[in-house]
Symmetry: C3
Subunit: 315 residues, 3 copies
């Protein structure tokens, strides 16, 4: 079924169908090269991007769209408050921004990171939701304050390609990082794993770093890596800052993913969305091992994006 | 007739023909999709742009051009003085810059804002004119220090689509803004309205904010909004800094366009080139009313650009 | 023969064949417009670029590639040390960066300037060589710490177009500049001239500014311009900082290329890779004379890039 928006797993009829479509694009990237003829995709980035930007551009071009990427990270300040008197730092209201961009494209893709300071605004996904509200074309999330659904779909595809038994054990584990990071990738991964319902998901993080309950319902949450890793088929590592003590981080170098921990698993594959800080998040030995899927995940970003863009309901 | 440059209304044989061409592109965007085959448009931006950049890219792609956008706003300092000893901050002379870019494209589009400090250089349109002088391909203005002709052509198209009686009354009105803005949009709008000769133009601004006489000859200039708005069919709002006291601005919140002022008009349409500061320039009520044409204006940027690019005399 | 990398003259079977190919592209730019069908070129810039970026994009598009340019100059800090514990400023290891980009493209083009402070790292060409090592697609240099081979190939093409006697005398001369510049263009020009073996190369620079011996073997090196210019057919001007006293510069305004020095030559052509500081490196009179080839060199960048990109061994 065509999609009117792609913000989360809940916008998808059947994750399996979408994975299957992505797989077909991977085999024959130009098979639908006329689908986007005469149509335009705008990629609007309020934050930097490498993988997402390039894979989404490739996906759009493979489908025959014109693709225009607009980097707004330099400081195009947008007003989100209704009724605001805009005599300060904001130069354009999201009503006009979304309205105007809708004039120029058939699909509007948006990336906007959280503030990590205003929990309420972040978890209302205000930027993304405002664009959805005021755009007159379908909106695709290139990562919002709370989710990164194209990453999660690529992760589903990657797991499906390497899963050789029913309901493999997938572990999403917190890992150390020197900076405060969003929860979006972790939230989204949990949401998709639960929604997909083809794996058993265990989430493993330090006390104080539980994700928001809306994302983890249906998964087992534990606070010790050894317990989580036992029997795991896939280890998905990611740092995130605290949801409860919003935006706080902690120095817990022992949470690094190393060979000894991987030895506890069922010869698990190692996954990470990249970029990754080596020897902080994961050791060289683990990420360079034949069980590391990080490059396959990056590759699958293209096919996930192509499946989604090709399914959006354009005029 | 093919155009060798597009810098102002004076470069256009017949504004009506150009509007008509834009209208045809709007109905069938890909009707001339082979026109630009094997040819390249370079969009050179010395200042930021959203609408202009995206609409011009779309217009070029619709015509089959390759389009390369180059953002020089980061600080590619160009020398404009003849004979300069370039041992300071400028790294390339405009002779080479224009000459080199001419090697790489068939149409060179340039945006360069005024300094708002050096009136003489700004009103000589030194940057734009230097590129015209040294380029060997046609130059299209994406907004210069003094004019924004693609905006004005889109405005003509928008007015023509919503004008239902001969010689409607069009009012260009100054409006408040917290920052110092160029006069380019206002100059250009006045110039095109007068040159087009299909409307009666009234310009309305505070004392001390009269535009340069070269742009306003043929229009009525008044200094009270109530007087100007009476019987108006179109209200075009825009802030500009002073031409006489060059670059100066003034805090005059009473000049905001609100419902009470619109009530004085002949049920006028509201126009603005965007981005617009809500509740400073115009109230929410006016910009969100069914008589607001701001999104249509933005949409028409694409078709105006397509009409112009398709008319440029390429090799 | 297809090339697996294009980093220096040593990667080229026959410079004459490559010049000939570039010449054919120049005559018929779209003659091989299906060659890149379904394939992608990524241009990765760690430093700013005008000529290189636009000419490489044009070249790729002429060959039917999708071309994605990624500007990493804003601060995507990459780790190059094996085994590094990445808890400081670097966010991604070159193993992942190169590995990921290889997933998204068929040819990876990279620009990375030298530090001019760490001679060893610069002359090991660490950035470029690391990308070559970890990429799984062919890498093309868009200028590295030590060489600028696409510029040199364009220079060979330009000389070949204007050379009307066997073994013309080509002089590479140091020229003044207010800033510290890399040696890459000069190194590369020397390397290609020697390897090409169609010209007699004389290099002329102040004492203390000799280039690294690996690039100048086979050329005559002199320290007085008058001696070098006598009988020259081509004068190629370029500033570079010292190799011996690494990165140091000197104020030597007398080394400017002016009419009186050009009068010593055999009516030589003047060449420079641009951008050039007028009246510091070269006088207005020389660069504007009919013997100046600077715009032709810039034009030939496109055809050189097209010859190289079309020769890369893609999957």
């Amino acid at each position: 079924m065509p999609m009117k928006q792609f913000l989360s797993a809940h916008d998808v009829d059947s994750i399996d169908d979408l994975i299957d479509l992505a797989r077909r694009h991977k085999r024959k990237p130009r098979n639908l090269e006329d689908l986007g003829y005469g149509k335009t995709i705008i990629n609007l980035f309020f934050n930097p991007s490498l993988r997402t930007r390039i894979s989404t551009e490739k996906a759009g071009l493979n489908l025959g769209f014109d693709v225009i990427t607009y980097d707004a990270s330099g400081g195009w300040n947008i007003e989100f408050e209704t009724g605001a008197v805009m005599n300060l730092d904001t130069a354009e209201h999201v009503r006009e921004a979304a309205g105007v961009l809708s004039q120029y494209c058939d699909i509007l893709c948006v990336r906007s990171f959280p503030s990590l300071t205003d929990k309420e605004a972040d978890y209302a996904d205000r930027v993304m939701k405002s664009f959805v509200q005021y755009a007159t074309v379908p909106v695709v999330s290139l990562e919002s304050a709370t989710r990164h659904p194209l990453q999660s779909l690529a992760d589903c595809l990657t797991i499906s390609e390497h899963s050789h038994r029913p309901r493999p054990k997938v572990v999403l584990t917190w890992a150390p990082h020197p900076r405060r990071l969003p929860q979006a990738v972790a939230n989204s991964f949990a949401e998709w794993m639960v929604e997909w319902d083809k794996v058993d998901l265990t989430i493993c993080n330090p006390e104080g770093f539980d994700l928001a309950p809306e994302f983890t319902a249906g998964a087992q949450v534990v606070h010790h890596q050894a317990e989580a890793f036992r029997g795991a088929d896939f280890i998905y590592a990611k740092n995130w800052s605290s949801y409860d003590d919003y935006g706080a981080t902690a120095s817990l170098p022992d949470w690094i993913i190393d060979e000894s921990k991987m030895a506890l698993t069922n010869n698990a594959y190692f996954m990470h969305c990249l970029p990754v800080r080596r020897n902080v998040v994961v050791t060289d030995g683990v990420i360079e091992s034949p069980r590391s899927l990080v490059l396959q995940q990056a590759n699958n970003r293209t096919w996930a994006a192509q499946a989604v863009l090709g399914r959006m309901q354009t005029k």
